[in-house]
């Protein structure tokens, strides 16, 4: 009985509650007359509520005013935050964009939804995504995208045409993307097409996904003056201008680019396997200034979108979810980019503005995960969550119907290792783009490329590390430490043989930037979190889709 009550309580929406009640009565032998339960008293919300999902790559919450940032980078997002419930500890399921975002769109951990690398077979990835489900309920679905991760690798080889049947684009009636060209060399612009789409489709019931890659490296490359340089330290010249870098597409520009920062390890800049420069605080400030300019410009765009929503009279019928896809390392540990599962990388901005202003101004300190977004949205819309969903609706918690923490522990896949992506296509892609390496490196690069390819070709699945996080502790487990050390890009570029720790434990309250591994001084915390982590890991491996179409039914034919 109590089990039944608890289960019933988890259902929030009237329709689902009603269905559940009928089911419970059917199953548990209530009087047959009761089975004729009254239909839901109110119109389900999915009949008239639009959904806008704004997904921003590399957005660090602590670089937004709403999360306490010192600079005024985000007046519009801050205003949205006040009208929303804001999640202070929203954790990404992975450190790389396609992997992390597929977990949001399916509410499944990466190894369960099949999005385990940049080069997956589209057929292996779950098709039961948010737009797919919303289409069952009559939504018009559209996406406007400036993150090439959502079309470059999955849709067509060239990226010139978006194939509507593929991983991210499927189930979208319209899938718009930015292009290189007139507006600047980068396709990582703001996806301004969203504004036109909204204007022309305002009378439809819609789901609009706006995904922006503007904040991504090269920082502020697509931000026009004067915003681009507004936070620059006075009179600063980028340090790489004075270094003998090979000519490449972006290494000689002012934009902090991957070409430069993939050579920075522990704030040393390596060239020809030698540290040739140590980054100063001013250098790091400059990078942060350019990063912030990207945030600022993105915020202006978000402001435009929200202003348009208001002027089209859609605010009261539109659920707006704004999320980071993942964060970014900005030199705190001497690294840049989103290479690992540090809090700077996996902690997200997340706010949900409900149409009637429900929970406006609430700030939720409790940890939530990317996989909770879909069940929460569906729950609000009175749509049952798919049974495959591994996250949970946060509404019962916000309503006070449920007091238990939704996610005492969050689980993160560092998947795949960035070196895996290098081995599959990135190094080739970079080589094709320009003269990226100095002669001393080129020779060894061939060996390195060959070695990592060989190592990874032997594996059945892309390699990864796993992590577990509470608001107090984070434990990272390097599942194949020996291989990780062998293939390490940092070891390659620095010409060294630095070893990683198999287990890392960080005290997030005392050491939020995760500088000191305290695993050896907290064996009891390590034991407890490792146990939970490996139980999760095991259950994920069990749920991983293993069925292949060519598997034959084992039927012994009649002789």
């Amino acid at each position: 009985m109590s089990q039944r009550r608890a289960a019933a309580k988890a259902f929030f929406s009237p329709v689902w509650r009603w269905l559940a009640a009928c089911l419970a009565i059917t199953l548990w032998g209530g009087g047959p007359i009761l089975a004729q339960a009254a239909p839901p008293p109110t119109v389900p919300r999915h009949e008239s509520t639009n959904v806008i999902l704004i997904s921003l790559q590399c957005l660090r919450p602590d670089h937004l005013g709403a999360y306490g940032y010192k600079r005024d980078t985000s007046p519009n997002i801050d205003a949205l935050g006040k009208q929303s419930v804001l999640f202070e500890n929203a954790i990404s399921q992975a450190n790389l964009t396609p992997v992390a975002q597929m977990s949001v769109l399916t509410s499944q951990y990466p190894r369960v939804n099949g999005m385990v690398s940049f080069e997956v077979d589209p057929a292996q990835v779950s098709q039961n995504t948010l737009p797919t489900i919303l289409k069952h309920y009559g939504y018009t679905t559209a996406a406007t995208i400036s993150s090439p991760e959502f079309f470059m690798r999955y849709d067509t080889g060239s990226g010139a045409v978006v194939n509507p049947g593929d991983v991210f684009s499927r189930s979208f009636d319209y899938y718009g993307r930015t292009r290189r060209g007139l507006g600047g060399r980068s396709i990582r612009k703001v996806p301004a097409e969203a504004l036109q789409w909204l204007t022309s489709n305002k009378d439809k019931k819609f789901f609009l996904w706006i995904a922006s890659g503007l904040i991504h490296m090269p920082y502020a490359a697509a931000v026009p003056a004067p915003t681009q340089a507004m936070y620059d330290p006075a009179g600063y010249t980028p340090f790489w201008k004075a270094l003998p870098l090979p000519k490449s597409e972006s290494a000689d520009s002012n934009d902090p680019s991957y070409e430069v920062f993939s050579r920075v390890f522990r704030n040393d800049f390596y060239l020809g396997f030698k540290p040739v420069y140590h980054l100063s605080n001013e250098d790091i400030d400059y990078v942060n200034a350019r990063y912030d300019a990207g945030v600022r410009y993105t915020d202006l765009f978000v402001g435009e979108v929200l202003k348009l929503v208001e002027s089209l009279n859609l605010t009261k019928k539109t659920l707006v979810v704004l999320q980071s896809i993942h964060g970014e390392d900005l030199g705190e540990q001497g690294n840049f980019f989103h290479y690992d599962v540090t809090d700077t990388v996996i902690k997200n901005a997340l706010m949900m503005r409900f149409p009637e202003g429900e929970f406006a101004g609430r700030r939720m300190r409790e940890q939530v995960q990317g996989i909770d977004i879909l069940p929460t949205v569906l729950n609000y819309l009175d749509i049952p969550a798919p049974h495959e969903a591994q996250g949970q609706s946060l509404l019962p918690f916000l309503n006070g119907e449920q007091t238990a923490l939704p996610n005492e522990y969050a689980y993160i896949d560092r998947l795949p290792w960035w070196e895996y992506t290098l081995s599959k296509w990135y190094l080739e892609f970079k080589n094709a783009q320009g003269d990226y390496f100095v002669p001393a490196e080129k020779e060894k690069l061939v060996e390195y490329q060959k070695m990592i390819k060989e190592r990874f070709d032997k594996l059945e699945a892309p390699p990864g590390d796993i992590a577990i996080r509470s608001n107090e502790w984070k434990l990272v487990f390097r599942k194949d430490k020996a291989l990780l050390d062998e293939v390490s890009w940092w070891n390659f570029i620095s010409g060294s043989k630095q070893a990683t720790d198999e287990i890392e434990l960080y005290d997030l309250l005392k050491d939020p930037l995760e500088k000191t591994n305290v695993a050896s001084s907290h064996p009891e915390v390590v034991a407890k979190m490792r146990e939970k982590l490996s139980a999760w890991d095991k259950s994920i491996d069990q749920q991983k889709a293993t069925y292949k179409k060519e598997d034959k039914h084992l039927i012994i034919p009649y002789p």
Binding site: H136, H387, H553, I555, Y558
Partner: protein
């Protein structure tokens, strides 16, 4: 002593009501409506549960089959309560039958295949006591209430070794794929010895099954005399057709061959109806018929090429899960047609309710279905029902059949979804999962929620097809990889 319903007291009223209502409405549930105030309690009455193994609902005349091949069943359906939309929890004998005796779904009693483990040389036969030790059986509850309990069966899928004999004083399972010519006389002999006690008798026969033939052979009473096809109606042919269908997914037969097999099936059904009549006559001779409640049903149907296969277990289409269900109460005029959907999961709570027995608390807790006595009083019982099969580890299917006429089938190992509108497409030929995607989506969630509510989170299980043979011939050539 007995809380008799005293039907005679109501007779005049019922007749008047029935007549009047028939004139204006000709409604099917009128007699049931007239029973609205009956207590329907039969304390210390006898109970006979009959399983006509593999009898498809669509081949029973009182359920709409044009040929009158089932006069005995039809007569009881007319004099008793005829549930025209009774759905079995499974599509083959081993899992389906155990649900009558336990009141729980196959996922819960776990008698899902003949073998719990089949990894030669390790072969472990499934057994209720081992798989679900806390489950109490119908026979145990009735025995606890002073009933003599006897089971007389055709062996095979209801062999005592699976736990079917649990709670029975006597359990006959010695004739492999035996028919009622074997089981019914033994049942009557036992009744002669026990006729002065109150009893629970389970009577079962494979008469309609592909692996059972009349001892004297088929007389081809319904076969077109002009049939020139190659088939003779043998068990071996049936087995070959079954296996070919499983291997290829579908087989090709011409119309004449299908008609031949349907005629063979008709003959078998017609014969079992006659054998059952002899049994009922025997009861009458013993003078106990009026003290006896009858529940007639089938564990499942069978496929005669409806979806281009033969036999059963491998799908959850209606030819396999829609079964006859007749409840004949003692006395006259307690009758009605109940067109609302019910499930075989309701059989055990219904029997216990009608017999008004004391149920141990655990048994009450155990019941997933509900008594159908309210339906006999005219109350609404219509509901969504669930079925499942893990047949031979060849496939793992779960289905929901809704009270408003939809069926959604989910195949676990392929995640294939099927949705049928049974009103427009009773033969389940047009899969609407793609076009009615919202309904398919919602029924899928309901189906998974149902299994989760009975303690089986389907998302957390793995579905590996393999081999768990039911018939010895299947395991030939089997080598563990």
């Amino acid at each position: 002593m007995h809380t008799l319903p005293c039907p005679r007291r109501f007779l005049g009223l019922i007749q008047a009501l029935t007549l009047g209502a028939t004139l204006c409405l000709a409604g099917p549930t009128l007699a049931a409506t007239a029973n609205a105030n009956l207590p329907l309690k039969y304390k210390d009455y006898n109970i006979v549960l009959v399983s006509f193994d593999a009898m498809q609902a669509a081949h029973v005349h009182s359920l709409g089959y044009p040929k009158e091949i089932t006069p005995t069943i039809d007569a009881m359906a007319k004099d008793g309560f005829n549930f025209t939309q009774a759905i079995s929890v499974s599509s083959w004998t081993v899992p389906a039958s155990m649900t009558w005796f336990t009141g729980v779904y196959p996922s819960e009693h776990r008698l899902l295949n003949k073998f719990a483990i089949y990894e030669p040389p390790v072969e472990k036969i499934a057994n209720l006591k081992e798989l679900a030790p806390s489950i109490i059986t119908l026979a145990e509850v009735l025995k606890g209430n002073g009933y003599a309990t006897g089971g007389f069966t055709g062996d095979a899928g209801v062999n005592g070794v699976f736990g079917y004999k649990q709670g029975f004083d006597v359990y006959f399972d010695e004739a492999k794929f035996g028919d009622m010519e074997d089981s019914a006389p033994r049942a009557l002999t036992w009744l002669e010895e026990n006729k002065d006690k109150k009893f629970f008798l389970f009577l079962h026969g494979y008469d309609s099954h592909g692996q059972c033939l009349p001892k004297e052979g088929l007389d081809r009473r319904f076969v077109d005399p002009g049939y020139k096809g190659k088939y003779t109606g043998s068990k071996e042919e049936q087995e070959a057709l079954r296996e070919e269908g499983l291997e290829k997914g579908a087989i090709q037969l011409d119309e004449a061959d299908v008609a031949f097999w349907r005629a063979v099936y008709d003959e078998k059904i017609n014969r079992v109806d006659g054998r059952f009549k002899k049994f009922v006559d025997g009861l009458e001779k013993l003078g106990i018929k009026d003290k006896t409640l009858f529940v007639l049903t089938a564990d499942h149907g069978t496929e005669v090429y409806e979806h281009q296969r033969f036999d059963h277990g491998f799908s959850l289409y209606d030819e396999l899960i829609h079964v006859p269900l007749v409840i004949k109460l003692p006395g006259q005029n307690l009758s009605g047609t109940i067109p609302e959907q019910v499930s075989s999961i309701d059989v055990m709570p219904t029997i216990l309710d009608l017999l008004d027995v004391t149920m141990p608390a655990e048994a009450k807790q155990q019941m997933r279905g509900t008594s159908l006595a309210p339906a006999m009083r005219g109350e609404t019982v219509n509901r969504d029902v669930f079925s499942e099969t893990d047949y031979r580890l060849y496939t793992f299917k779960r289905s929901i059949r809704t009270k408003d006429g939809w069926k959604f089938v989910y195949t676990m190992e392929t995640k294939a979804k099927e949705l049928y509108n049974l009103k427009d497409d009773p033969h389940e030929t047009k899969n609407l999962a793609a076009t009615e995607s919202r309904l398919a989506y919602e029924l899928e969630q309901k189906l998974f929620a149902h299994f989760k509510s009975i303690g089986h989170d389907l998302t957390k299980e793995t579905w590996k097809t393999g081999l768990s043979p039911v018939y010895p011939s299947q395991a030939k050539g089997w080598k563990k990889k």
